[in-house]
């Protein structure tokens, strides 16, 4: 893990779980797999606290354990899972858009608690919804569990591995750690809940248990006729119009949809890898434009298109004077967006007889940008913490005043008294609070947006690595 990633993980863990968990977590990320006593010794924390911290981390799926020979259990942290914590708000929002408030609350509860049993989740969510509903109404457990089943079907929610029940029930020596097993089939199976008094629901995904699990459907080409049949009724698109749309999509230079044959009226396939590649390239271009200017962006797009270009050719094609072109190329080179490729003319790589070509290596540029994103988010979080710490006194004061006002309103007080209490915070202090709030909001929003870029770049890099 790079230093930037470790720093970001440390900040995230500290914000969400406190300093002790942060210390243990960062130590594990740095040093890899370690047994319990070594962790306690190296970090200098008491065994008790290490145990608590590890319990919390395991509960949240950030640390896994493995039994090695001689019964030693080793713990390993998963850095990528820690970085996912940035994305929680986006997950919850997506669940909200697709499954409304119930779905949102289910996902939120699961994210806050790491792992939970279905019954516990359903109960908690139903209680929370009941609180927000009007008096007298209660949330039906069946509805909540239905939403849960739908979430499991679309793989938002996944079942954790379980200890297999051993047949022999003799109390032999227990293994030092349970071995968690899960079969592919069971990953998205939801247990049969008997909701006493609130109606029952059938077991879902019975069909899936028989055949191939849903998770592993391979990419396949879809027939023109299939597409036509699977369109929802409300669209009201005729076959000809559909054909036109499909040709339009397939001819698009971005190549999201590709035509892979003519059988059956045309076979169409979605190129996920190409789509990710286009998105990553677009991100890179946008970054170059915003950093170096539109002329640099022109040169960048040119080199991207032509793959390899010499210095002279760049000047000619881009129609930019030599001096400026050279300057821009070197700026981009030092920013690692563009790289130099040497092509020797003679076996001894004499510099006077070598071609130097400029090229864009998208994978390495994407990696560089991703690393930069991690650094930026770490900086944003640090700045936000700094700002909050600077104004801690003021924040506490405003919280106290709010609490006082709330309690006074509850007991019933005159407006004049409330006014007086509110005046405890002076006008310049109010302004300071406003500025602080605005800054913190801006920093938070930036974090969310940088996280989006991270998602894109990570998906592209992963997809490329899988193909190799």
């Amino acid at each position: 893990m790079t230093q930037a990633e470790i720093k970001l993980c440390s900040l995230l863990l500290q914000e969400h779980f406190g300093e002790i968990v942060e210390k243990i977590g960062v130590h594990l990320i740095r040093t890899g797999s370690q047994p319990l006593r070594v962790i306690a010794h190296d970090t200098g924390t008491s065994l008790d606290q290490v145990k608590k911290a590890l319990c919390v981390l395991i509960q949240h799926n950030l640390v896994i354990y493995q039994v090695h020979k001689r019964g030693v259990v080793e713990y390993e942290a998963q850095c990528s899972r820690v970085l996912r914590m940035l994305r929680y708000p986006r997950y919850i929002y997506t669940a909200k858009t697709l499954y409304s408030d119930t779905g949102e609350l289910i996902v939120e509860e699961l994210l806050l608690n790491g792992k939970m049993t279905m019954s516990a989740v359903v109960k908690k969510v139903a209680d929370r919804l009941t609180e927000t509903m009007e008096d007298g109404k209660t949330m039906d457990y069946a509805e909540v569990s239905n939403t849960f089943v739908r979430l499991a079907d679309t793989h938002f929610v996944q079942r954790c591995p379980w200890v297999p029940a051993t047949e022999n029930s003799d109390p032999g020596p227990l293994p030092p750690a349970p071995i968690l097993v899960i079969s592919e089939k069971d990953m998205y199976l939801v247990p049969k809940l008997s909701l006493i008094g609130k109606g029952k629901r059938r077991r879902s995904s019975d069909e899936d248990a028989a055949g191939e699990p849903k998770a592993k459907r391979p990419k396949h080409n879809t027939d023109n006729k299939e597409i036509f049949r699977s369109l929802p009724v409300g669209y009201n698109i005729s076959k000809q119009v559909l054909d036109q749309y499909l040709t339009l999509l397939a001819d698009d230079p971005l190549e999201f949809v590709g035509k892979s044959g003519d059988s059956g009226g045309g076979m169409y396939v979605i190129n996920l890898h190409k789509a990710l590649g286009s998105l990553a390239t677009a991100t890179l271009e946008s970054v170059v434009q915003e950093r170096f200017g539109s002329r640099c962006a022109r040169i960048f797009r040119l080199v991207l298109q032509k793959k390899h270009l010499e210095q002279k050719q760049v000047e000619d094609f881009a129609m930019i004077p030599a001096k400026e072109a050279k300057d821009m190329l070197y700026k981009m080179l030092s920013g690692n967006f563009i790289s130099l490729q040497e092509i020797p003319k003679t076996p001894d790589h004499a510099p006077s007889r070598t071609f130097y070509l400029y090229t864009v290596n998208i994978l390495s540029a994407a990696r560089m940008l991703l690393h930069r994103c991690y650094k930026s988010i770490a900086n944003l979080i640090e700045r936000r913490q700094f700002e909050t710490k600077e104004n801690k006194r003021l924040l506490e004061k405003s919280q106290r005043v709010e609490a006082i006002i709330a309690s006074m309103q509850a007991t019933g007080a005159e407006d004049a008294q409330l006014q007086e209490i509110e005046e405890m915070i002076t006008v310049p202090e109010r302004q300071q609070l406003e500025t602080l709030k605005r800054n913190v909001n801006k920093l938070d929003a930036s974090e969310i947006q940088v996280d989006e870029t991270i998602f894109l770049l990570e998906s592209y890099i992963e997809s490329t690595m899988k193909r190799q």
Binding site: R291, S352, D444
Partner: protein, 231 residues
Amino acid sequence: MAGNKGRGRAAYTFNIEAVGFGRGEKLPDVVLKPPPLFPDTDYKPVPLKAGEGEDYMLALKQELRETMKRMPYYIETPEEKQDIERYSKRYMKVYKEEWIPDWRRLPREMMPRKKCKKAGPKSEKAKDTGKGTSLTNTADVLKKIEELEKRGDGEKSDEENEEKEGSKEKSKEGDEEEDDDAAEQEEYDEEEQEEVMVYLGKMTTLIHTLKMEMILVQTVTTTWMKQPIKL
């Protein structure tokens, strides 16, 4: 070798034109320090995305942060004890739910060892150590009494008695510190009583009726029992 051809004159080993610098042109300066911490940028950053979704996600993020702090998973660092206990601290404590992990899913070594549990064993531990020390104290004292008896030296025994009394008092205070609960003391005392009786029995067989020893025995029992025994 080949590198001496220039006879000390500066010459590039490669065609400088290829890299883009014209002949005789001034090359850019060598940078001798790290780049500035906040470099000037020519272009302002693009404004953030704004919209209903983004606003909602922002609110979610901030709420999530606050909620996480109140969850039982947030382990707070134990603060150092302050000199003055603030009254307001008591009311600012956040009440957290107890969280018990599912032990079936965790390695066995994760479970807190029974020794660490505060409830039962601590008092037992205190009891044990208390008893142990008091018993060893009595054993020591009795041994010394035996030695004294064998020596039969009056003056020395006086001094030693005083020393022993001093040490007894210390041991008494030690015992008291170890006994946290007053309720436990009664049980403790009753058990002590039986054992003291055994020791007393032993003493009477061993010790002659020297006055010093009698006083010694009485003071010893009073410090333990806090009431005199009439022998």
